[in-house]
Every structure is written in C-alpha cells, then in structure tokens.
C-alpha cells in the first residue's frame, strides 16, 4: 500500500464523506487513490473556496471539513480559507501536495513553504517525511482540529511520500500527544463561585458566542436561561444559538449590534461570556463596559480569558460541560425587573431606517425572506453591509445562521453554503451576499452546476462596496475611493450562462411573491435585489 492509499484509508476511518479541492501534479497520487474509494470529490474553482466549502460542511456536521490541493500556488491560494477557519474556530484538515522531499528547499517548480506560511493560522501543521507516519499524523490531525478550541490543521505531503510503500496499514485507536490535553471540565470551585455571584446579581446577562455552537451546547444554554430566567445577547458568531424571537434573547451586541443589546451589556452587573472572545467588534473598549461588572468568562481556550478583558471568574473548559455543571445548582434569584427593563429598551430605543421605496429595503426583505424560509433552513451571510443586515434582520427559527464573524472574508457565503448543502441535502440553504462578495466567488456557480448542489443565492446589488463606502461616508467625508463596482456583469446573463433560474426584485412591491418563487422547490436560483446605493447599515 502506498502513502496516498493509506491517506484515503485514514479518511475512510475518519468517516470523511467529501473532499473539496483542486489537483495538480504534486497531489495526484492522493487524487488517484481516492478514485478507489466512496469518498466524494468536488473540483472547486479556486482553492480558497475549497477551505470555505469544507468550513460550511464542518459547521453542519460537527466534524472536520477536508480539502486537498496541490503544492505551490495551490497551497498558497488555500491560505485565506485556512485563516478564515482559524479566526472562526472551524475544524478543518487540509492536505497540500508538496514537491519531492529531496527537492524541498531548492525552489523548484511549484514549491512553497506552506507549513511555514500558515504557521500563525493553523492549530498545527505537519510536513510528512516518512509515509509510515501517515496514519498517526492523520489521526492526530483530526483529533487536534476538532477538540479544544477547534481550528484548521494542515498536512503537507511530498509527492514521493505519497508514492512510498508503507507495508501493512493500521490505524491507531488513540492519539498520544503529551503536549496537547485540552481542558473539558470546568473547575468545580469556580462553578460554585458563579452560582454565588448569580445569586447576588440584580442584572445578570449571558453573552453567547460561537463557542456555544462549537461545543454543541445550544440546548444546555436554552435550558439554563429558561430555568433561571437570565436574559441573553449574542456575538455575531453566536447568532442562531437562540431562536431570534425567544423572549429572553435580546439580539446581537457590538458596534453593528442592537442598541438595547449594547445597553444591556453596559448596565448588567454580571456578564457571563460563554465561548466568546470579547473581541473588538463585539465589545468595544471592554475595560469601560466591564468596569463595575462581575465578568464570568467561560472559554475552552485559556488564552482568550484575560486577553481582552480581565475576568472576575475565569473558567476554562467546554461550554456544554460547564453549563451542565452550573445547571446542577439551584439559583435563587429573580431577574424579572431586569428583563422588563430590557424589554422596555427594546421597544423604546429607536432604530432609524428611512428606506427609499424605489429600492428593495434590505431590512424588510431579509426579515420577510427568513420568515418564509423553512424552519430548519441554513442561512449563510457573506461579508459587507449584507452581513450586518443579515445579522440584524434574519430571523432564526430552528435552522442555522453561518457567517465569518472572525475573519470577515468576502466571498465566503457561496462556497460555505455549498459545503452546508452537501452535508445536509434535505435542508434549504440560502447564501446572501453583496455584489462585491458575489463576484469573489462567482466561479463556484460552475461547481454548483457540475455537482448539482442546489444552493439558493441572493445578491443585494448596490453597485458599491457598500461597507467601505459607508466608512468613507462617515469617516472620510464622502471621498469615495475605489468602491465603485461599475462593470459588474449582468446577473441575469450570468444565471443563464450557468443554467440557473433568475429572479430580479426592484422594490418591495411584490417582493413577497418573488421570495415565494425563489424559495419554491429544491433548485438553485439566483435572485438579484436592487438596493439603494446610499443605504447605510
């Protein structure tokens, strides 16, 4: 058995169903061996999207997404996707071909030091120098990617190693890593302290981050807050861990969040951050927000605790396990007044939008769309103004909301939606992007057609890089620089070229009917919504 055949056996052992990628000579032994397996391969149209598609799949399945590309430019093209998964803590195992191991370092054709290049964006990387190491390396990679704080792991495979004979294949039962033992269970004393502080608190608030989803603790969170009646806000990555219309959920915080959610953060006397990094976009000036607040910070990554805000009670561990431990206690507290106050803020604080009726109002449109989407539908938001509108106006029922809140990589939504759709073919998957982000991943319409991936795509078209234009409007006194998207293709023709159904919405008149048409049936469809170029989030 060759190294490449062993690799495929390892993927089978890890129950990998799909590999996204782009071959080149240096990864050909891998792609040759995979022909003899039931694992599906998807020829993505640019490597970055292989990582995004794997990310979309990982977020649906809870298992690492897998991609495989060639050496040199193939590997370097993958980097943005890897960095995105790293920032968003999404588990990936990425294979890159590499030149013959004896030639490494001599700058031969399509050679790049990929393990060196991705060092600060991966949890770990391997350059395999002996094919016999492959089973151990792959076993470790899947373990590292999907435990602790999840993230991407890269395995660099010189072509001669893929062709090397390894003899008998055996897959290790367990990993032995003396340097890697992530904490799962939270410290019992700290948990007791949390209970005590909660009993003292008058205005407690839970801020839920993406870690809730990653540790599969959505149910635990819901049980806890319903039992103790504690209000919840979320970060961008935490959207969807609570149904939007849950009476104890008060929406997204941050500089693009809801004013009442931010006010709740300011006025709370106890904040429990769970699986959230206290990053700048969620909590601006944490020292000020947290000054007189008891901050309980629960995270699986000890380095996140105290990085951006000093925690009163730090707890390292898995959110699910810790929430279960907290729920063991009876908590004596009545927070109804606080909840009522927050409800008053929610109804009284104004949200100023004066949509021009000549265009589609993204807020009303997204709300209407999400209410019409299936109960368990998957909504993937891209990056830009479309992301903020999606975060604010998409109503999550029992489905999923996915976006790259950490890295903010334009072009994420279409490939991620493809990965999600392949992971859950029975679910409705909608990608919502702007005309800028759409053009960053437009080439994947071919992949969708080739493999029959029925993703529905909405393009909010304003002929601008809207988020940057908005910044230039506010901060640079309307000196617009390099944000004009004139020259964009006619999307109706694009849809026709890729054999997709096309719908255009010019304004809100009849938009509902068009949304029904867009969502009908399980077929891919491209919908263009003309929005006000001057609209602001």
């Amino acid at each position: 058995m060759t190294g490449a055949q062993a690799l495929i056996r390892c993927l089978e052992e890890e129950k990998v169903t799909t590999v996204f990628g782009y071959p080149g000579v240096a990864i050909c032994p891998f792609y040759d061996a995979i022909l003899d397996s039931d694992i599906k391969t998807v020829l993505i149209r640019t490597e970055q999207n292989a990582a995004h598609a794997a990310s979309g799949m990982a977020r649906m399945t809870g298992r690492p997404g897998v991609c495989a590309v060639t050496s040199g430019p193939g590997a370097t093209n993958l980097i943005t996707g890897i960095a995105t998964a790293f920032a968003d803590s999404i588990p990936l195992v990425c294979f890159t071909g590499q030149v013959n191991s004896e030639l490494i370092g001599s700058d031969v054709f399509q050679e790049a030091d990929i393990t060196g290049a991705v060092e600060s964006f991966v949890k770990y990387s391997y350059l395999v120098k002996n094919a016999k190491d492959i089973p151990r390396v792959v076993k470790e990679a899947f373990h590292i990617a999907n435990t602790g704080r999840k993230g991407p792991v890269l395995i660099d495979l010189p072509i001669d190693i893929q062709n090397q004979e390894i003899g008998r294949f055996s897959y290790p039962d367990e990993v032995k890593l003396r340097t890697y033992k992530p904490t799962v269970k939270g410290n019992a004393l700290q948990i007791k302290k949390v209970v005590k502080e909660l009993e003292k608190a008058k205005r407690p608030l839970i801020c839920a981050g993406g870690g809730i989803r990653l540790s599969n603790a959505k149910g635990e969170l819901k049980n806890l807050i319903e039992e103790y009646r504690i209000p919840v806000v979320s970060t961008m990555m935490g959207i969807g861990v609570m149904p939007t219309d849950h009476p104890l959920y008060f929406g997204m915080v941050g500089n693009n969040g809801w004013p009442w959610a931010n006010r709740a953060m300011k006025e709370a006397d106890l904040i429990m951050m769970i699986g959230a990094r206290v990053a700048d976009r969620a909590v601006n000036q944490p020292e000020r927000v947290m000054k007189d607040t008891v901050l309980i910070h629960i995270d699986v990554d000890p380095a996140e605790i105290g990085k951006n805000a000093g925690a009163t009670i730090p707890i390292v561990g898995d959110a699910k396990s810790i929430l279960n431990d907290i729920a063991e206690y009876e908590i004596d507290g009545d927070f109804e007044d606080w909840i009522n106050t927050l409800n008053t803020y929610k109804t009284e604080m104004p949200v100023l939008r004066n949509p021009d009726p000549a265009y589609v109002d993204p807020a009303a449109f997204i709300r209407s769309l999400s209410l019409k989407m299936k109960d368990n539908a998957v909504y993937v938001a891209d990056v830009g103004q479309n992301q903020i509108w999606s975060c604010k106006y998409h109503v999550v029922k029992n489905g999923r909301f996915m976006t790259t809140g950490g890295m903010g990589t334009m072009g994420y939504s279409i490939p991620a939606a493809m990965g999600a759709k392949m992971a859950a073919p029975d679910r409705q998957v909608v990608a919502v992007c702007g005309d800028g982000s759409f053009q960053m991943s437009m080439m994947e319409l071919a992949t969708m057609r080739q493999y029959g991936i029925k993703v529905k795509i909405i393009v909010l078209k304003n002929n601008y890089l809207g988020m940057v234009r908005q910044y230039q409007h506010f901060s640079l006194k309307d000196r617009y620089s390099v944000v004009d998207l004139s020259g964009s293709p006619d999307l109706e023709n694009i849809a026709a070229a890729y054999g997709m159904k096309f719908i255009r919405v010019n304004d809100m008149n009849g938009a509902d009917k068009k949304i029904d048409e867009f969502l009908a049936g399980d077929e891919s469809c491209l919908m263009e919504c003309i929005i006000d170029p001057m609209d602001l989030v």
Partner: protein, 160 residues
C-alpha cells in the same frame, strides 16, 4: 516588568521558528533567547527573557502553552532564578592599556582565551548584569566583536 520563560519544547525542526514567530506575530518582546538540548535529546529548553505589562506576560505564557510543540512553560522573575550568560569579546590592545584590560579581567573574573600581538579574546560567564558591566568597562578600549549566548536561567532550588 521583566520575566524569564523556561520553555520545554519538542526537539524538532521548525520549533524555534514557531516560538519566535509567535513573539513577533503578537508583538511580544524577546530580550534574550537561548536554546539547547536537555538531558533528554528529544526535548529542548528555550530560555526566553521578555518584558511587558503583567497582562502581556500572562498572554505570552498562555500563547506558548497553546503551541503543540511546547511541553511545559515555567515562568519566574530574575530574582527567583540563577541566571548566567557567556560572552566572548574581542578587543584591540596596545602597550598602554594591556595592563588595565588584564586588571579588569581579574576584577570581573574574566579569562583571556586567545591572544595575538594586537588583539585578544576575553571570556566571561556571569549574570546578565555583570556582562553588561563588563561591556561598559571595556568600552574605553576598542571592542572588535562581541558574541553572547543569551541568558540561561534555572529557578532557584529553594522553594517556598
């Protein structure tokens, strides 16, 4: 604030780069760095002297611990450690200052380890503070080259 990080790492290629990269990537200071094998040849010890705020120093420790090639991180203040640095220093001398240089060596417990008609190499092994002092003492004569190992440190035996 200064702190010493004693970092046990897997003795593999690329590990030094990963640790050094972590410091540059997150704008942490490296005041000094010394690396060598331990009694176990699969394990290397990196002794890193760094400075920063208490929060930064805490982050350094946590980020080091996140690296999968890092086996163990110990941190301590200089006062809690035995520290040594080895320096080789090449100086030009003449009849006028030869005596003075030799006296300095005697006071500083340095040795002359090589010599020609015009130049000599001095060796000193002492605390970083004494090394700095030695350099300043010799700044009067013309220093040709200096090579330093960086600070090595072990936590003092007395534990409280």
């Amino acid at each position: 604030m200064k702190r010493i990080f004693s970092v046990l790492v897997e003795n593999r290629s690329g590990v030094l780069c990963k640790v050094a990269g972590l410091f540059s990537r997150r704008s942490f200071n490296i005041d000094s760095l010394a690396v060598g094998e331990t009694d176990d040849n699969a394990v290397s010890m990196m002794t890193i002297l760094s400075s920063g705020t208490e929060q930064t120093l805490e982050q350094i420790e946590k980020q080091l611990n996140k690296k999968l090639d890092v086996i163990k991180v110990k941190t301590f203040d200089e006062s809690k450690a035995v520290t040594r640095e080895l320096m080789l220093i090449k100086v030009k001398y003449n009849k006028g200052n030869r005596r003075e240089i030799m006296e300095t060596c005697e006071v500083m417990k340095a040795e002359i380890v090589d010599m020609s008609e015009k130049m000599m190499i001095l060796q000193i092994c002492d605390t970083p503070e004494k090394i700095r002092l030695m350099i300043s003492m010799l700044s009067q004569v013309s220093i040709v080259e200096v090579a330093r190992t960086g600070t090595l440190a072990l936590q003092k035996c007395m534990e409280d």
